[in-house]
Symmetry: C2
Subunit: 329 residues, 2 copies
Amino acid sequence: MIELVQPLLNGDRRALARVLTGVENQQAGDVLAAVYPHTGRAHIIGVTGAPGTGKSTLVAALAGGYRAQHKTVGILAVDPTSPFSGGAVLGDRIRMQSLAGDKGVFIRSMASRGSLGGLASAALDAIRVLDAAGMDVVIVETVGAGQSEVDIARAAHTTLVVEAPGLGDEIQAIKAGLLEIADVLVVNKADRPGAENAVRALRMMLDIGHPVERHHGRFIAASPVSVAEPPPMWIPPVIATVASKGEGIDELLVAISDHHRFLVDHHMLGRLEQEQIEVEICERLRNVLVDRLLESLPQGALMEVVRQVQARQVTPQRAVEVLLGQGHI
Amino acid sequence: MIELVQPLLNGDRRALARVLTGVENQQAGDVLAAVYPHTGRAHIIGVTGAPGTGKSTLVAALAGGYRAQHKTVGILAVDPTSPFSGGAVLGDRIRMQSLAGDKGVFIRSMASRGSLGGLASAALDAIRVLDAAGMDVVIVETVGAGQSEVDIARAAHTTLVVEAPGLGDEIQAIKAGLLEIADVLVVNKADRPGAENAVRALRMMLDIGHPVERHHGRFIAASPVSVAEPPPMWIPPVIATVASKGEGIDELLVAISDHHRFLVDHHMLGRLEQEQIEVEICERLRNVLVDRLLESLPQGALMEVVRQVQARQVTPQRAVEVLLGQGHI
């Protein structure tokens, strides 16, 4: 695929599409290596939240806003669920059809094929490819509210968590458990009953969250020892939007831009990226190591320990020790 | 903690509580090993679904149903989100207060502390402890709809996926992406408008899902080659409930029991357990291996490759190779 590198860097859409397919099929290693020095320019925005909050419509509205600012936008919709999600992908595309035909926007959906670890690293690679292709903004939308979505959202510089009124009571809202990764909170569908309450509840929740120290815009546990120079605090704003009507989008664009400026002004962008790279490397190591160990095991060794565990002769913990003794890296 | 083994096996509630705390703090290895031969008796039921579907109320209603059948019930509420989820745990307990004071029910909440891998294995260990303590039924409720919740739900013999009307349109329902792990689909809050549509949409979706072969009650991709003897098929029933009023619970109990009988009659329980054990062992291996490699690295080696990746001098993929060369297991 190496012949696609130069067209990709020139922003050629067909090259971009083909490289992204290569990334999904784990066949783009050489292209990734070649374009990697050209990454690091885009502002990466993560958008996550429970189903039903209108994330795709919001992403389309945001993209429209950036287009009005003459910025190019790459959209990556990541669905960590299953083969069944073909329908969801189609749905997203329908919702984003307002963007169709605009050469300044590139939309791509990625669904899980096989392991989740595989999806997360493919998503990171896809973000880099969109970045290298010259997108000013890359928006990564993840479906659902589980840890995997959180992990993918954390690859962003600015993470939007989207809520909507009427999805459940306040306790359920906390349950979604996304507050602490939010740099900007969005209450979408704000023309529905209960929107003001939702905004108020979220603002209150952020107050209850104190005292916590914030660190490049994310909560960390308050340290028991006093620190000489506490890091500057970013308090996530709560923005009400009606994405389907374009309401609140300008305010949201300002909030996102404020957060980016906060990171830059306080020299936090580099530290954030450093942490993200460390997490990514450890995840990749994890996957490579287990693959190597399993390949090195004698024929049938794994099945034999599984049989013993199932027969309640050994615990799963002990089985792991046995396999570590039998294999090598 | 080894002195707790006999009381635990006798069903002593204080011993059970203390061992579960030990499991959460990863300090119960000896107890787990001692009680492991006494596990494998309980019927393990996973309950998952998006926030707002009323899972906790449904779990409480199910537990009440089993109590009426004189079965003992362990409930494990697993929240793969964050420290913030203390509130959710409290909320669950409030919702389940109808069960308070019943010695035949034991409720425990587990929240994420540190790594998700840690939570998933702690949850598996906690299920085994409840099983060893003599619970006839162990209900594992997970919050959210991400891969991590799916992984935990897969540890069950029978997985319930809970939906509710009005949480979003059909596309969103597919998006939750939980259909293919469902052994029984529940449309809770069925007294709300749209419930019949939701039931119909889910039944239709299951039809669209064909032709797929089903395998111990879960979807797998249809094989392109014809198989001499196709595995028997379990078609997940769709049950409408109003858990808060106890409506539909009897029907749901029958559906769960039908699924369990299906697994037993077709000798699928053993195969299911075998697959679950294999997944668990590989996950545990993954965590142990990366920990060992990182510990073996020369001082500062990880930070140095992170720096090089951040400076765009090497790709994350190359960084992994470098670390594999510098460390050992």
